[in-house]
C-alpha cells in the first residue's frame, strides 16, 4: 500500500518535471481534458478550458452553418456554441439533460463546444505523445498535434485554438483569417 503510494507520487513528480521541460520547449501543457465524440477519444489542452456545463437553450443565428447551434448567455456575455458531433458527423446529435458542452477560452474569445461526453483530465508526459501519422480521421490532421496513449486507449490531441480559429469553423470573420 505504502509502496504504491510512493510510486504514484514519484510518477506524478516525473510528469511534472517533464511538463516543465515541455512547457519551456514547446509551450504545450501537459494536462489534457479528454472527451468523446462517437467512439473516439479526443484531448484538448486543459489551460484552454474555462468550464464545463450542461446544454442550454441556444438562440439560433441566421445564415450560420448547421454545426453552429447559436449563441447562449454566459453570465452576461454572448457566446457561440458549436456542436462538434455535427461538425465531424460523429455520434448522435441529441440534446437532453446529459448533453454537455466545454466552454473554451481561445485567443481572448469564448466558445462553447458540444461533445458526446467529458471523460477525464489526464497528464501525459512527452514519451506518451506520439506524432500524428497521416490517417483518415474525422478531424483534419492539420489540427492534430499528436496521439497520446494511456492504459491502451488512444487519445487524439487537438490543437483546439487553431481548429476554432480556422476558416472552416466560421467562428471568426473571414477578414481575420
Amino acid at each position: 500500500m505504502s509502496q504504491h503510494q510512493t510510486s504514484q507520487s514519484s510518477s506524478a513528480m516525473s510528469v511534472r518535471n517533464t511538463g516543465i521541460a515541455l512547457n519551456a520547449e514547446t509551450g504545450n501543457g501537459q494536462e489534457f481534458l479528454t472527451f468523446t465524440l462517437g467512439s473516439e477519444l479526443y484531448g484538448v489542452d486543459i489551460l484552454k478550458v474555462q468550464e464545463i456545463r450542461g446544454y442550454d437553450t441556444v438562440t439560433r443565428i441566421p445564415d450560420a452553418p448547421e454545426f453552429i447551434k447559436g449563441v447562449i448567455n454566459l453570465r452576461g456575455s454572448i457566446v457561440p456554441v458549436v456542436d462538434m458531433r455535427l461538425k465531424f458527423n460523429l455520434g448522435n446529435a441529441e440534446y437532453n439533460e446529459f448533453t454537455v458542452m466545454i466552454i473554451l477560452n481561445i485567443a481572448k474569445r469564448v466558445v462553447g463546444m458540444v461533445v458526446d461526453g467529458v471523460s477525464d483530465v489526464m497528464a501525459l508526459s512527452d514519451e506518451q505523445i506520439l506524432p500524428a501519422p497521416e490517417f483518415g480521421g474525422s478531424v483534419d490532421t492539420r489540427y492534430i498535434t499528436g496521439l497520446g496513449t494511456l492504459d491502451d486507449r488512444m487519445v487524439i490531441l487537438v490543437d483546439i485554438e487553431r481548429l476554432m480559429s480556422s476558416s472552416d469553423m466560421a467562428l471568426v470573420s473571414q477578414a481575420l483569417s
Partner: protein, 681 residues
C-alpha cells in the same frame, strides 16, 4: 521626510492641460477693444499654476518657458501694457507650445523646437517693447489696492493640503518676510491621537500682518494653495485710518475657488477686490465637493452592473407575471417598486456618462479662427444647443468628423470676402454648429452660408471617376448627387491644400458616423450655403427595442426605426413581376421583406395577411417586415456579438432577455438596404 512626487505627476498634467484649455478659451473670448481684467487674470492664473507645478516637479523646461509668459501676462494684468491682437495671437501660439512641452514632459514625445524658440523670441520682443502705452480701459478696471495698516487673514487649509505638496509653514514664513506677523493656531479640528491621519492637515490659522503690504503681495503667498483652502483676507481696520476708507476696504473677499472647474469662470474675485462689480454673492462653499474625478472604466463597470440588474429585474417581473395577483399582492407591489427603482438607477448611472456637447464645440472657435486667418476669410462661428448631452463615447468619436466638416465648410463652402460682397452677401461668412435632441437621437448640424455644392462639378467629377453614367448625370436627383461626395477619393477642390481637398475626408466622415450607428445627410442650395446633418444615437449601450417573434425566435427591432405595424389584408399585398412583393399602405407601395425567408426560419406564417407587418424607415426609405407576432417593447442592453463570434448580415448585436435567453438585434438600415436592393434587382 521625502515625498514621492511621482504620484502627483498625473494630476499635475491633468490640471495643466485643463489650465491650458481655460487659457485658450479666455484668450479667444478676449475683446481687444474692451479688455476684461478678469479674463486676463484667468489666463495669468493658469500660466502661474503651470509654472509653479512644473517647477515643483522639476520640469524645468516648462517652468522656464512659462516664466517669460507669466511676466508678459503680469504686465497686462497690472495694466502696464495694453493688449494687442498680436499679443493674443502670440499667447495662443504659446498655449500650443505649452501643450507640446507638457506632452513631451509626460510621454517623452518630440518638442517643436522651432515653435518654442519663435514664441520665446516673440515674448522677449513683446517684453522689450514695454514702452507701449498702457490702455486706459485696463487701468480703469484696476484701481491700485489701497495700502492698509495690515491684513487679517483666516487660513483654513483642507485636510488634503499636504497631498498637493504644499506646506503651510512656508506660507507663514513668506508672510513673515512681508511684515510683522502675529500667528494664532486653531486646533479645534484636531482629532484624538488615535484618529489622526498624519498626512492630513487639521490646523487652521488666524494671521495678523501689520505693515504697508499690498493685497497682491498677500495673495501671492497663497496663490499655490488657494484651491485647497478656505481663505478670508480682510484689511485690518485701524481706528485712525479714516480718510482712506473706500468701498474696496469693506469688501471682504472670500478667495475660494471652485475646484478646477476650468470651464466656468473662476470664482476667485480679483486682486483689487470690490470695484464696480459686487463681491461674489454665493461663495462656492460646497464647490470643492461638487465634482470628483472618476475613471471612465469605473463608470463603465457600473453601467454594466446596472445593465445586469435590469436584466435580472426583468426576469423577476416575467416570472412573477404568472403569479396570482391576489395571493401575492405584496410581492408584486415590491416588484413594481423594484422596477421603478431600477429604471431610475439606470437613468442616473447612464447620465454620469453623458457630457454636454460643448466639450466638442468649444474647440472650434480656435480651429475656425486659425483657419480663417490662413485662408484670408472672414468667418463668424455660431454654436447653438451646446448644453445638449450625449454619451462620452459618442463625443470622443464625433470630434474628428465634425472637425472635418467645419474645415470643409470653411475651405470649400465659404467664399472670400470680395466674392461675398459681389454676390451681395455679408463679407463675413457664418458657420453654424447646432445640436439638439430629436426623439432617441441627437442631431448635429454644420451649416454655412457659402456658395453651396456645385452640382455640375460633382457630376463631372463622378463621371470622370466612372461612378455614374452620362444618363445618370442628367437624371439623378440632387440628394443623390450630394451623396456622391461621400464616395472614397472624391474631391472637387481644384487644388489640394493642407486644409482639405485630398478627398480622403468625407468617406471617412461617413464611415465614422455609421460606425456610431448614425447617419449623415447633406443639403445644399447653390449660392446660399450647405448643411450637413448628422443623426446619432444618444448612447451606444442601451436601445429602446421592440421584440418580435418569428418561427419561435425572438428578435429586437430598434424602436426608433419602427414607423407603424399593421395586419394587411390579402389584397393589399402585390407581387411585382415575380421579383418580390410590395404592400400598399395608404397610397404608398412599400417593399415587403419576410423575415422567415431572409433568415431561413421554419415559420408557420408565410403569407403577409396572416402575420404582422412592421414598417421600418431608414434613409427616407421604408420596408415592411413580415413577422409572426409582436411580443413587446423594452429597453435592452446592447451586447457585442463580434466579441466571440463574427459579424452576421442584418444583425447589429445581441441582448439578453428577461428569461436569460439571448435575442438578436436587427440592423434596420441593412434590412432596408437589403429589401430595396431585392426589389430594384
Amino acid at each position: 521626510m521625502s515625498i514621492d512626487l511621482q504620484r502627483f505627476h498625473k494630476s499635475f498634467f491633468e490640471e495643466s492641460f485643463e489650465g491650458l484649455d481655460a487659457m485658450e478659451q479666455a484668450l479667444l473670448a478676449l475683446d481687444i477693444s474692451a479688455v476684461d481684467a478678469e479674463t486676463i487674470n484667468t489666463v495669468f492664473r493658469a500660466a502661474h499654476s503651470i509654472k509653479g507645478g512644473a517647477a515643483t516637479f522639476g520640469f524645468s523646461s516648462v517652468a522656464e518657458y512659462t516664466h517669460g509668459v507669466e511676466t508678459l501676462l503680469d504686465e497686462m494684468r497690472s495694466g502696464k501694457r495694453s493688449v494687442t491682437q498680436g499679443d493674443v495671437d502670440l499667447l495662443l501660439r504659446v498655449v500650443d507650445v505649452l501643450r507640446g512641452l507638457l506632452g513631451a514632459a509626460r510621454d517623452g514625445s518630440a518638442v517643436d523646437v522651432e515653435a518654442v524658440a519663435s514664441t520665446q523670441a516673440g515674448i522677449a520682443r513683446a517684453l522689450a517693447g514695454e514702452g507701449s502705452r498702457p490702455a486706459l480701459s485696463a487701468v480703469a478696471d484696476i484701481p491700485p489696492a489701497p495700502a492698509s495698516a495690515g491684513w487679517l487673514i483666516r487660513f483654513e487649509p483642507r485636510p488634503d493640503l499636504f497631498r498637493s505638496g504644499n506646506d503651510p509653514l512656508r506660507i507663514i514664513r513668506g508672510l513673515e518676510a512681508l511684515g510683522k506677523l502675529e500667528v494664532e493656531v486653531d486646533t479645534s479640528a484636531l482629532p484624538g491621537f488615535a484618529d489622526a491621519d498624519p498626512e492630513s492637515c487639521y490646523l487652521a490659522w488666524t494671521l495678523r500682518l501689520y505693515g504697508d503690504v499690498t493685497r497682491a503681495e498677500v495673495d501671492e503667498q497663497f496663490s499655490w494653495v488657494e484651491d485647497d483652502c478656505r481663505l478670508l483676507i480682510s484689511p485690518l481696520v485701524v481706528a485712525k485710518t479714516t480718510a482712506v476708507v473706500d468701498t474696496t476696504v469693506n469688501a471682504t473677499i472670500e478667495a475660494q475657488v471652485a475646484e478646477r472647474t476650468a470651464a466656468t469662470k473662476p470664482q476667485l474675485t480679483l486682486v483689487h477686490g470690490g470695484g464696480p462689480e459686487p463681491a461674489p454673492a454665493q461663495p462656492a462653499r460646497n464647490a470643492d465637493v461638487s465634482s470628483i474625478r472618476v475613471g471612465t472604466e469605473k463608470i463603465d463597470a457600473l453601467i454594466n452592473l446596472v445593465g445586469e440588474l435590469v436584466i435580472t429585474q426583468a426576469m423577476l417581473t416575467q416570472q412573477a407575471s404568472h403569479l396570482d395577483p391576489v395571493l401575492n399582492e405584496k410581492l408584486l407591489a415590491g416588484l413594481s417598486q423594484l422596477d421603478r427603482n431600477t429604471r431610475q438607477l439606470q437613468e442616473a448611472v447612464m447620465s454620469t456618462r453623458m457630457l454636454p456637447i460643448d466639450s466638442v464645440f468649444s474647440r472650434f472657435p480656435r480651429v475656425v479662427r486659425d483657419l480663417a486667418s490662413k485662408l484670408a476669410k472672414q468667418v463668424k462661428l455660431v454654436t447653438v444647443g451646446e448644453s445638449t448631452e450625449l454619451d462620452k463615447g459618442v463625443i470622443e468619436k464625433i470630434t474628428d468628423p465634425l472637425n472635418h466638416l467645419v474645415r470643409n465648410s470653411l475651405d470649400h463652402g465659404l467664399e472670400l470676402p470680395a466674392q461675398r460682397l459681389e454676390s451681395g452677401k455679408d463679407p463675413t461668412g457664418t458657420i453654424t454648429l447646432k445640436a439638439a435632441h430629436q426623439g432617441g437621437h441627437i442631431v448635429i448640424e454644420v451649416c454655412d452660408d457659402g456658395r453651396g455644392l456645385d452640382r455640375a462639378r460633382i457630376v463631372a467629377k463622378a463621371q470622370a471617376n466612372g461612378l455614374i453614367t452620362a444618363v445618370q448625370a442628367e437624371t439623378m436627383p440632387d440628394s443623390e448627387v450630394w451623396q456622391l461626395i461621400f464616395s472614397p477619393g472624391f474631391s472637387t477642390a481644384e487644388k489640394v491644400t493642407d486644409v482639405s481637398g485630398r478627398g480622403v475626408g468625407m468617406d471617412v466622415v461617413k464611415k465614422n458616423i455609421q460606425a456610431l450607428g448614425g447617419q449623415v445627410e447633406l443639403d445644399s442650395i447653390a449660392g446660399r450655403g450647405s448643411r450637413t446633418i448628422i443623426r446619432l444615437p444618444l448612447t451606444l449601450a442601451i436601445l429602446d427595442g421592440m421584440s418580435v417573434a418569428v418561427g419561435g425566435e425572438v428578435y429586437i427591432l430598434p424602436l426608433n426605426s419602427v414607423v407603424e405595424s399593421l395586419q394587411p389584408t390579402a389584397d393589399q399585398v402585390k407581387t411585382i413581376a415575380g421579383q418580390g412583393q410590395v404592400v400598399k399602405v395608404r397610397n404608398e407601395y412599400v417593399p415587403l421583406l419576410a423575415l422567415w425567408q431572409l433568415f431561413n426560419l421554419r415559420s408557420e406564417i408565410r403569407e403577409a395577411h396572416r402575420g404582422i407587418l412592421v414598417i421600418l424607415e431608414s434613409d427616407g426609405r421604408k420596408v415592411a417586415l413580415l413577422v409572426d407576432e409582436l411580443v413587446g417593447q423594452q429597453q435592452v442592453v446592447i451586447k457585442n456579438l463580434e466579441a466571440n463570434y463574427r459579424r452576421v448580415p442584418c444583425i447589429s448585436g445581441a441582448t439578453i432577455m428577461g428569461d436569460g435567453r439571448v435575442a438578436l438585434i436587427l440592423d434596420f438600415a441593412e434590412l432596408v438596404r437589403t429589401a430595396s436592393g431585392a426589389v430594384a434587382a
